[in-house]
């Protein structure tokens, strides 16, 4: 990709790229900006999948059309990311009640969620999963 150029009067200078220092940094940035970036609402961060399946979904969210969204982060590209996401996807397909409870818990804290969101939750369909991974 061509570099990004900063315009200063008539001079263009390339803007250097960098990486986040930690996955957590990327996660925090996305979680606090879920709506502007992906039109999603945060349901839970570090959502535990229980003792049996022992795992943590980095970010669990609700899409604008009322579907669950799983977001996994990696600082560097890796195929483990996809495998991990598929695993959580299968888990959530099998544990819809847990997702609904998490949404209810969250919406009890944040009244800003409208009745419209609750309706979509009731007719829950699992069809969303976005993944974030940086480039090399």
């Amino acid at each position: 990709m061509m570099p990004l150029f900063q315009i200063a009067k008539d001079q263009l200078s390339p803007v250097p790229q960098e990486n986040f220092l930690a996955e957590k940094q990327l996660q925090h940035l996305i979680e606090t900006n879920l709506w502007p970036v992906f039109s999603c609402r945060l349901v839970a961060s570090e959502f535990s999948t229980g003792a049996q399946h022992a795992g943590r979904i980095d970010t669990l969210a609700l899409s604008e059309d009322g579907n669950p969204v799983i977001i996994e982060y990696k600082k560097v590209e890796s195929s483990a990311l996809i495998n991990q996401s598929l695993y959580y996807l299968a888990w959530i397909n099998d544990h819809r009640g847990d997702f609904e409870l998490a949404v209810q818990k969250r919406s009890a804290q944040k009244r800003a969620w409208t009745g419209h969101m609750f309706e979509s939750c009731a007719s829950l369909q699992v069809s969303g999963s976005s993944i974030c991974t940086p480039c090399r």
Partner: protein, 175 residues
């Protein structure tokens, strides 16, 4: 149950800018194909397609044109073509009751009815009024799809009037 998997990559710049880019298009994870059978292959194929639609929620744009008149079909097709040409990054996502157009988020939803098509744009009706006479603030009104500005399209003139607002909705999403 159908599932979307998206892979996004970030580019972080020193001047406090971050850019997100989809590197792997929406890939669809469908149910597994069941084994062979000795039934009529055409019926089996038809049954499978129906079962797939029910099970996975995969719909097509053409299904929304079923049993619609020529005017509605023509307008809806022109609308589809226009929206998809606004930017190659815009994807069409047909749902059961409406068709969504999106990049990282929904930009517009179209509900094709017998007599007219309803266009729901992701614009704030408090600031953007839309073409007069055919626009409505539906932020507090139940409707299919997402988007708070509703524009009712019955004629080619309505469609012409709606065009700049479609572009504006795309630019507002900032993708």
């Amino acid at each position: 149950m159908g599932t979307n998997i998206e892979l996004w990559t970030y580019r972080l710049f020193r001047n406090d800018c971050v850019y997100f880019e989809e590197v792997l298009g929406r890939s669809y994870v469908g149910p597994e194909d069941s084994g062979q059978s000795e039934k009529n292959p055409i019926m089996v194929a038809a049954g499978k397609k129906a079962a797939l639609t029910r099970a996975t929620g995969t719909y097509t744009f053409d299904e929304h044109l079923n049993a619609k008149g020529p005017e509605v079909t023509e307008l809806a097709t022109a609308l589809q073509e226009f929206i998809l040409k606004v930017d190659p990054a815009i994807e069409e996502v047909p749902k059961k009751l409406y068709v969504a157009y999106r990049t990282s988020q929904n930009i517009a939803c179209v509900e094709i009815q017998k007599q007219k098509s309803l266009l729901f744009l992701k614009l704030d009706p408090k600031h953007v009024k839309g073409p007069p006479g055919i626009s409505r603030d539906v932020s507090a009104v139940g409707h299919f799809g997402t988007g708070d500005l509703e524009i009712t399209l019955r004629t080619a003139a309505d469609f012409e009037a709606a065009k700049p607002y479609i572009v504006q909705a795309y630019q507002a999403v900032g993708a």
